[in-house]
């Protein structure tokens, strides 16, 4: 299901009523959360690795210009090209121009969240190119004309039955006329369809898990091997990457690979870790003729200079969403953003705008579980609170939320008046509700009483009773 609706609440409401989605997200809770916990518990040095990961990222961000320029030099030295894209439009334009110069007609793509962020598929398709996602999950959401609902598992919202229907509808022209529901048979269809595409593709586009400054290498991790084929079989390989993806050395990258696999999937390492360093050299048996890296800013340098810099440490593992009780209740599409869950709620306003991100920073209980599991220790709750503050200051928070809180705050700084009001309130509500224990409905408390009783006060406030010298109720 592609959740639609004008705001988070209405999309969440639909998601909560979607039995298939509920069944799917509950698998995250039992599967990946437990797997991560086991993988982490097996490493006594895990906390030290997190510390080191955060420190390396902070150091790199502090010296980002240096490492990016070093990366560029190394790529160029090996015959590749580096392009600097200020924003999404710029990035799409650069990729389109490379494709046009190469006379490309078909493009294969490895999984890349930054390509989702910049809307690359739509831009290339507008130029008449055939674009095929080669990651099985991305391929499925592409067929369904949906967006990924998770940054690591794009189809986490889809049941096997949904996928069987999609393949039955689309794979007839590839010679698959029967509807299959067996996972192995479904995967076999993807492999078969992909084979043709890999060999006919002119351009292969991948993302980057890490860019290594010392060697000019791009590292991607996959569990299907589709990344290798995408970057070696096409004539031109284009890497699209956010500027924060750079790490100083291969050694640093090794640490992040360990953190990433455990945090994302609860495994020690992914099936494939693919390094690509420049185009095919003389004597190489394979590899692309051209190698391009498009470094995408799109709001990131703005983050670098302010309170949101820690968000640029993110290695896109998805642990924050796997552990977020709100994400687990409503899934990714309710966020209506390329990046869902806690990291998405912070990143979205940074790469779009407060208006576009809307209430995402508020759709969170600030319970702190995301920060606890983040492999690079991003203080997500603090950043979400900071966004709420920025929205408050900018006047985005209006209506009942604003004046309701205003009245409360005004009263809270007038203790004597507050005492009078609460004594009266506790008394009245106590008289009305104590015999039943609580209220099923109450004026102005509709949000609370929608699915819960409001427990009745005990009839007096603590302060009133204490002032009378009482020692118990």
């Amino acid at each position: 299901m592609q959740a639609e609706g004008k705001n988070f609440s209405s999309r969440a409401s639909k998601a909560l009523a979607d039995a298939g989605l509920q069944q799917q997200v509950s698998k995250l809770k039992t599967g990946f959360v437990a797997a991560r916990a086991r993988a982490v518990a097996a490493l006594p040095e895990y906390e030290a690795m997190r510390e080191a990961g955060a420190a390396i990222k902070d150091h790199t961000l502090e010296n980002l210009d240096f490492y990016l320029e070093r990366f560029e030099r190394e790529v160029v030295k090996r015959g590749g090209h580096v392009h600097w894209a200020a924003d999404a439009d710029d990035a799409c334009r650069i990729v389109r121009e490379i494709c046009a110069r190469a006379g490309a007609r078909s493009v294969t793509k490895g999984k890349s969240m930054v390509s989702e962020e910049i809307g690359l598929n739509a831009a290339l398709e507008a130029d008449g190119l055939e674009v095929v996602e080669t990651d099985a999950g991305e391929y499925i959401v592409q067929l369904a004309k949906e967006a990924p609902s998770h940054i690591v598992m794009p189809t986490v919202h889809k049941t096997t039955e949904d996928i069987a229907d999609l393949f039955f509808e689309h794979h007839g022209r590839h010679g698959f006329s029967e509807r299959v529901t067996d996972a192995a048979a479904l995967i076999a269809q993807v492999r078969s369809v992909m084979r043709e595409k890999y060999f006919s593709a002119d351009v292969g586009i991948t993302g980057a898990n890490f860019l290594v400054a010392e060697t000019g290498s791009n590292i991607i991790v996959t569990n299907e091997g589709n990344g290798d084929l995408t970057c070696t079989l096409a004539r031109v390989h284009i890497v699209t990457a956010g500027i924060e993806k750079v790490v100083p050395t291969l050694n640093d990258a090794a640490l992040f690979l360990r953190l990433l696999a455990r945090s994302a999937l609860g495994i020690e390492t992914t099936s494939y870790t693919t390094l690509s360093t420049g185009p095919r050299r003389r004597g190489d048996v394979d590899g692309p003729e051209e190698y391009h890296v498009v470094l995408v800013d799109n709001g990131r340098t703005k983050m670098l200079s302010g309170a949101f810099r820690p968000m640029l440490r993110c290695i896109r593992c998805g642990a924050c969403m796997n552990h977020c009780p709100v994400y687990l209740a409503v899934g990714g599409h309710a966020y209506a953003s390329v990046y869902p869950g806690p990291m998405g709620a912070v990143l979205t306003p940074m790469i779009t705008s407060h208006e576009a991100a809307g209430e995402l920073p508020h759709a969170c209980t600030l319970n702190g579980r995301c920060q606890q599991v983040c492999p690079v220790k991003i203080p997500l709750p603090d950043l979400l609170r900071r966004l709420r503050h920025d929205q408050w200051e900018a006047g985005f928070i209006k209506g009942k939320s604003r004046w309701g809180l205003g009245i409360w705050s005004w009263l809270a700084t007038r203790p004597s008046l507050y005492r009078l009001v609460t004594r009266f309130g506790a008394g009245v509500l106590g008289v009305l509700g104590r015999s039943r224990g609580g209220f099923r409905r109450l004026p102005l408390a509709g949000g609370w009483t929608a699915g819960r009783n409001l427990p009745a006060p005990q009839g007096t406030t603590f302060h009133a009773a204490w002032a009378k010298g009482k020692k118990r109720l």
Partner: protein
């Protein structure tokens, strides 16, 4: 020897003067928790006072982005709780606000920052104060029932409260404690979250209720009234008989016949 309280002295007759931060929810909805806190603190050798100029820690404003109002409320708290050896409250959430967030809120203001830090360093959540600062290892209380315990998020993650309530509850006569599956998962309260996103919040608290029922416990305990009102509110809406108490009520032997959200029986 004088037994009355002296101005700003942090001790009275060798007993540390503790300022009780009642919390706004306890004050309004469950004053019994406040009296339980007073008893537990006095039993632990403290003199308890309740400053009059306290209302709320300011968290609703702070978490909604209104830092200006939050700072004004925080200043009032800082003023009200000057001179105490300790400031103690029956809530991990409010005390985490005072301990962790107050100093951050005044980072641009040296004078108030120093006062905020001074308050933060002396502020504790009730049960962890009893065990970690006062060295309390047992209580004399009885409660007949099988309970389970929900770890409220702020207390757990910001203040590291996990074993302390379990340790003290294990010394309550007649009480058995069963562990709750996903005890560390948010119940869906989240302050204003629960009224802004009632459907999501109710889904979260329904999952919590299902886990509570799985333990077959007859009592749910916790250390934060917001979460407890949320969980009790859902339990009672569903017509469940599971009783809900703040852990302090049980530890003080003041749990009484009616749990949170139950009809009054006395």
């Amino acid at each position: 020897m004088m037994t009355q309280i002296h101005g700003d002295s942090p001790e009275t007759d060798g007993r540390p003067r503790v300022g009780l931060f009642v919390t706004c929810l306890v004050d309004l909805f469950r004053p019994g928790v406040g009296f339980a806190a007073v008893k537990l603190l006095e039993d632990a050798g403290c003199t308890v006072e309740v400053p009059r100029a306290q209302v709320c820690c300011g968290q609703p404003a702070y978490n909604s982005g209104d830092e200006g109002s939050a700072r004004r409320i925080a200043m009032q708290v800082i003023e009200a709780f000057q001179g105490f050896a300790y400031v103690v409250g029956p809530s991990g959430s409010c005390m985490a606000m005072i301990r962790k967030d107050y100093p951050v809120m005044f980072e641009g203001d040296a004078a108030w920052h120093a006062r905020a830090v001074a308050l933060a360093e002396r502020s504790y959540e009730l049960i962890s104060f009893l065990t970690d600062v006062r060295g309390v290892s047992a209580v004399s209380a009885s409660y007949h029932g099988n309970a389970t315990y929900h770890d409220s998020c702020s207390g757990l993650r910001t203040l590291g409260i996990k074993e302390q309530p379990r340790a003290l509850l294990s010394t309550v006569d007649g009480l058995t404690l069963a562990e709750l599956q996903d005890a560390e998962t948010c119940c869906g309260f989240g302050g204003t979250f629960c009224v802004k996103y009632p459907e999501v919040s109710v889904k979260m608290v329904s999952d919590k209720v299902a886990n509570i029922e799985m333990t077959r416990a007859d009592t749910l305990l916790g250390g934060d009234l917001g979460c407890l009102m949320n969980i009790a509110g859902r339990l009672k809406r569903l017509g469940k008989t599971i009783r809900v108490f703040h852990a302090a009520e049980v530890l003080a032997g003041m749990a009484g016949p009616s749990g949170i959200g139950d009809p009054e029986k006395d």
